[in-house]
């Protein structure tokens, strides 16, 4: 067994122990997906971030450290459940996530918009205005778009299901190709 293989095992045990003992609070890892690598973060209250790409997650990390402190550790096994649900969704075997999401580091407005977005069912779309209305702010379509653009937990909080009133895709933080792919997966032609 090589030093690096032993180290990997020890790091996994260390991370599990540190999180179990409350010394560390957030587990992170990277998983492969049909949309490329996803950087995942799981805190004590649920999923904190799903970031497209294995790098460039500094903004998410800053927000997480500000909320939960520096106790962030790579802990692949702690994220098994998150990966399993995402894998099932990508394979077309899951239409609803059971995972808890932690939006506590966001502003009250963002939380309301994302909570309304999370309730949009698989295979359906809503307009920005509908989401703003459901969040109790019918005139805040533009601010709704901004809040969705900054959604830290895409896919599980399905901001890809929010489109323009005319059916156009508008934007997506992960890129329009990914938005189109996700909608097609859910049976909605892009």
């Amino acid at each position: 067994m090589t030093l690096d293989a032993m180290l990997a095992e020890s790091r996994e045990r260390l991370a599990s122990r540190a999180i179990a003992e409350g010394v560390a609070r957030v587990a992170v890892d990277v998983m492969d997906s049909p949309l490329g690598p996803l950087w995942l973060a799981l805190g004590p209250r649920g999923v904190l971030a799903i970031h497209y790409g294995a790098s460039g997650y500094e903004g998410d990390l800053r927000r997480i450290v500000a909320r939960y402190g520096p106790g962030v550790l790579r802990a692949p096994k702690r994220l098994d459940e998150v990966k399993r649900e995402l894998d099932e969704y990508f394979a077309g075997k899951r239409t609803r996530f059971e995972l808890s999401v932690d939006l506590s580091a966001l502003t009250p407005f963002q939380r309301r918009i994302l909570a309304a977005t999370k309730r949009v069912p698989f295979g359906t779309v809503r307009s920005y205005r509908e989401i703003a209305t459901r969040a109790g702010m019918p005139t805040a379509s533009r601010a709704t778009g901004n809040a969705l653009g900054a959604n830290p937990i895409p896919i599980v909080v399905p901001c890809h299901r929010i489109v323009g009133s005319d059916g156009s895709l508008h934007g997506y933080a992960g890129g329009l190709d990914r938005k189109r792919w996700l909608l097609r997966l859910e049976g909605i032609p892009g």
């Binding site: 067994m1 090589t2 030093l3 690096d4 032993m6 180290l7 095992e9 020890s10 790091r11 045990r13 260390l14 122990r17 540190a18 003992e21 010394v23 560390a24 992170v28 990390l61 450290v65 520096p70 106790g71 962030v72 550790l73 790579r74």
Partner: protein, 150 residues
């Protein structure tokens, strides 16, 4: 150094290698590695970035001194891919047995200087002793290792 993961990425590998060399045993090294970093995580906010390395070695050394229990399953050090280059023409595989035969305070000083490549001031800081004492320990240990290999 913003997160625990940054600390592990920067120093986890060398501290794990140090733990293996100090204990010569994988399970003991695993324990030592975990105890060292759990202690480091608990003190994370109160440590300055400029001496993290020596600080980690000091924790590891103290933890190793505290817990001198041995386990049956030994790691063959010559199987390992080593972090530090061979020093003074002595291969790490050759010196593994000689290192284990050293008294604990000399073993730590020798490994920190000759294998982990810390400066004498870092060795002194890691072992909470003067630089002169660190030099003396390394010198004494080196003499013994050379005699053992002669």
């Amino acid at each position: 150094m913003r997160t625990f993961d940054d600390l592990l990425a920067a120093h986890g590998r060398e501290i794990f290698a140090y733990a293996l060399r100090l204990t010569g045993d994988r399970d003991d090294a695993d324990d030592l590695f975990q105890e060292t970093f759990l202690a480091a995580f608990r003190a994370f906010g109160s440590v300055r970035d400029d001496n993290l390395r020596a600080w980690l070695y000091r924790i590891a050394t103290n933890k190793a001194t505290d817990a001198r229990r041995r386990q049956a399953r030994r790691v063959r050090l010559d199987d390992l891919e080593l972090v530090a280059p061979d020093r003074d023409g002595v291969t790490t595989a050759d010196i593994a047995a000689a290192i284990r035969a050293l008294p604990p305070h000399e073993r730590a000083a020798f490994v920190l200087r000759r294998v982990q490549d810390l400066s004498y001031s870092e060795v002194a800081e890691a072992l909470s002793c003067s630089e002169d004492a660190a030099r003396k320990r390394v010198s004494e240990a080196t003499k013994k290792v050379k005699e053992a290999l002669a």
